[in-house]
Symmetry: D2
Subunit: 185 residues, 4 copies
DNA sequence: TTTT
DNA sequence: TTTT
């Protein structure tokens, strides 16, 4: 609750994919999203326009995770305020690996959908579309397998994630998920 | 120069070690520091006070790197404003690895020393002490081997880091360095 | 150029009106916009939903002012990063008054249009519409009287605003503009 | 509780005076402080070094106000995170006036003392000194007239400030206070 | 004055 | 993978 120092990340960018929603044993939701930010500049040497995209791994917890799961979609533009967190995990060979994420949680976390009518009131169901005005989806049913448990696979240390809510960060142990492509983490 | 989105990190914390300064082939300085931020809370289950420290890897470039090298020391408190950047490297076994850092560079980067008279005027030499009022050192000579070259080891692709200054991020290739203590990366 | 301390404001909100563009004697552009942010909550006493809107006075300078004048319109959603600045002026009775603004200028200033295709490429002229997809206008001609001079009225102290560009803030002297309604400043 | 938009201010600077603490009818504490941030640059025309100081009016509420009253002193360096708020009041002649402040309150508000051991543990009493290592005072008794009531003067509209805690901003009515020196408001 |  |  108290903190020594400041650990704050602010992002505005677009989702590279639909959010992935999971539920912790406690029932709390976790949403994982990836957000792109980019910079462009003119290369002084070649004179050509160049662009570099940075991909950010973001984890939202609790109510914000649910909102993300319901309203955000691939391409959605979003404002995120969270904190940096590096978590340790073991790869297949048992070697320590570290993954840094932006954790959006509790009172310090902010998630604001940008750029459109706020998913509000217009009633019309989404019908499978992927993108729409303001570029987020309609409220979505938790879909597929709701409340599926968080499944720590090779690491069997259940206790630690049974964390009481007063912890500053509800941690979770899992290897970084599989991504189907060359996302650099 | 132009950017699409916002990628901003703000940290206030203390250095876990003295800065490590290097120089790129271009002569530009790079300072690597690690900054601790922490949170404490009362564990509702056990009733005891708990604390969690997060370590942040920060890379400063150019003038700010020089200032960091001269004035910051282990324990120094600092305000940092930079951006998140994940860079790819290969470990000993040739496997891809990713490291996320806070890059402080150019016009968007800010580094402010906190907690003391600003390295200014009081004249008295430091005499080897590690920490002092305001907890940063006196201006330090680049020491040891100044202007030592940045040494990309297994990767021999010099050209890319010959980047013109107009690039948003001067990149550099190196495995994460060794730390002599329990900083988890 | 150097700074002691941090002075940063971050806003995401919608414009209450079209930007007002002026030009300083130097030819530099200044755009004044007002941005709304709001909070809503359930009143515990009455049980009803309540909302409070905060209006922010923002001044953009230079290139960002030009971009604002061209692309932003009443209702546009925008991300702003600037600094707080309070300037002193005299009201009709000669009494000192102070107005606080968010100044967006130079390398520390950021303005990002949110929520739509970035004014780019689709070619179709705007045809007098006030709002469109993504809610900003097409590039607009400086309209009316371009390059009209900044006209300090009752205060005739031209020299101070002849400021060299290396000043951290190009100041300008003018009474707060007339607003046609109850904007609270 | 919910918010549309982002309204965030981040300051790092030094207090121009000791905090002024008051108590609202509800018993909640309010601390008013002024924080200086400054920028310096070399005047290109004259070649001389110049400096400009910006003064920020900050109001802290609740627990943070109490901490501010106990530990902060004139000269203390502090990190502040709050939101911009402009409040209306009437001057002696009944004219509407507006004052913009940085409000630090609730879950979004942050106040971090910088630059010293955190009031903790070193035991040695302060002995009336005003400033010390790390530049903040020892815990201070609320002094003088604790729990003195907030005194709305010309405005007698008690009810509105009887606000339930779920309101985003506990407002208070008062003219800006007198400062004994050259702080420009 | 915006927006939802 | 996004977006312009």
């Amino acid at each position: 609750m108290a903190s020594r120092g400041v650990n704050k990340v602010i992002l505005v960018g677009n989702l590279g994919n639909d959010p992935e929603i999971r539920y912790m044993p406690s029932g709390g939701a976790v949403a994982n999203i990836t957000i792109a930010t980019s910079e462009s500049w003119r290369d002084k040497a070649t004179g050509e326009q160049r662009e570099k995209t940075e991909w950010h791994r973001v984890a939202l917890f609790g109510k914000l995770a649910e909102v993300a799961g319901e309203y955000l979609r691939k391409g959605s533009q979003v404002y995120i305020e969270g904190q940096l967190q590096t978590r340790k995990w073991q790869d297949q060979s048992g070697q320590d690996r570290y993954t840094t994420e932006v954790v959006v949680q509790g009172f310090n976390g902010v998630m604001q959908m940008l750029g459109g009518r706020q998913g509000g009131g217009q009633g019309a169901p989404m019908g499978g579309q992927q993108q729409q005005q303001g570029n987020w989806g309609q409220p979505q049913q938790p879909a597929a397998a709701p409340k599926q448990n968080f499944a720590p696979q090779q690491q069997q240390q259940a206790a630690p994630q049974q964390q009481a809510p007063q912890q500053p960060q509800q941690q979770y142990n899992e290897p970084p998920m599989d991504f189907d492509d060359d996302i650099p983490f």
